[in-house]
Amino acid sequence: MRERIRIGCGAGFSGDRLEPGLILAERGNLDYLVLECLAERTIALAQKRKRQNPSAGYDPLLERRIELLLPVLLANNVRLITNMGAANPLAAAQKVIEIARRLNLTVTVAAITGDDVFHQLTGDETALETGQSLASSGPLVSANAYLGADAILPALATDAQVVITGRVADPSLFVAPLVHELGWSLDNWEQIGQGTVIGHLMECAGQLTGGYFADPGRKEVTDMAHLGHPYVDVLADGTALFGKVEGTGGTLSLATAKEQLLYEVMDPGRYFTPDVIADFTQVRLQQAGPNQVQATGGRGQTRPETLKVSVGYEAGFIGEGEISYAGSNALGRAKLAGSIIQERLQEQFTDLRIDYIGSTSVHRTSFGHYPDPYEIRLRVAGRATTSQQAALVGEEVEALYTNGPSGGGGARKYIHEVVGIISTLIDRNQVTPTITLLRV
């Protein structure tokens, strides 16, 4: 058993920057690197890709991240845990093996599967969001249960240097190495509660070290262009000291840690993961030094008997169109354009949205304080059942050039296929995580 381990988080979402993870692997003195790359929508889209191509469905940036990181991770003896397997952890593991072969590296990769419960659902299960059956939302395309730290632990007991999962609760990616290395018990709610606090603070990577925080003149963050991602030193007693690599940009302070501790938390006294119902209300944060924050006092009570299942369904299409107006009475002309579009499309669309970008598009109001801006971009979005219908929105906006108010410019049109997300619960005994080891 170790007295202390260091875990870095090099990515907090699928599209996160590549460089901070590399810096952590090179200079972070890490034992583990975690890359958290999987959102609910990401996995549903990945399932659709897998259906079209059985060897696809893992994270689109996996190849670039692994090519960059693998030589450094192996040279520095850093283990990688990542959910970049998305809808297809086995294919992702095979891709890592292929990259290792190309780079003349020797590696063992563990793929963790079992989160895909699509074929176990009938569609009659109740959706938590609607109270109706899952199938009543639309044709189902994916169903992934959130696995916990227990699914990862057997892989850590092997010689695998790379562990690739699909849907695993984000904090569990951190709880697993803490349990494995520090001799913690999955049934010790105090340890797992504190581990979950640690994982929650880490899982969004740069959001702990000053990313998504800065407001110039008020909330200053140093050298954001070179924002470093965090690592955490965890002692066997659970004390966690968060830091970042010397020389990287960003700021790690009580204020950044507080914002991240509460991020996406629905009930601070009862934060549900597959591992524990964690309690954040006794957490003590202290500034331990420049860019160093200490966290203690995370707690927990029991683990939920059910696992959350994230379910994707086909939700049709969204058509969008945009056009700009500027100068005197820009908002007046944009509003005239909006009313023209409304009249032209109202019979084909029951759900049409008209936004005035620069005025009220983001918050749906400007709280009455702000004068008319110099320029306005009209944006129209409509929900459609087919892509042909969705295309009408952009076509009508573009046609404002010659059939709308004076001075419209820069029209653009888009069509998106939409996958909706709902969730349900499944008994944890119905979910069986499995490990596959691949070597080269």
């Binding site: 929508r41 914002e259 509460l262 954040f280 598009s361 983001v362 979005a381 929900r383």
Partner: protein, 104 residues
Amino acid sequence: MKIKLYDIAHSRAGDKGNTLTLSLIPYKPEHFALLQEQVTANAVKNHLKEIVAGEVTRYELLNLPALQFVCQQALTGGVTTSLTMDTHGKSLSFALLEMEVDVP
């Protein structure tokens, strides 16, 4: 005197499905009592009436100190199917900070 929350506190928004979470963290702990007293769940629901259709629940974190607001039916259907620009509601932290409070 009336001031905006922006002048004394900071906030981060988060989303889960159609639910919006908003933290409210005073820059100075001595402003926490004022936030506790004036930034009630009802006051936030009223301030965000054009944005939040459902209930607002407030949690007090005396350990930070900070308040956490959980707003139901706030994201017009949620991240994936909403027609709005900011489908996650990520920018709504600054909508909360537009709220005014009385300071002595």
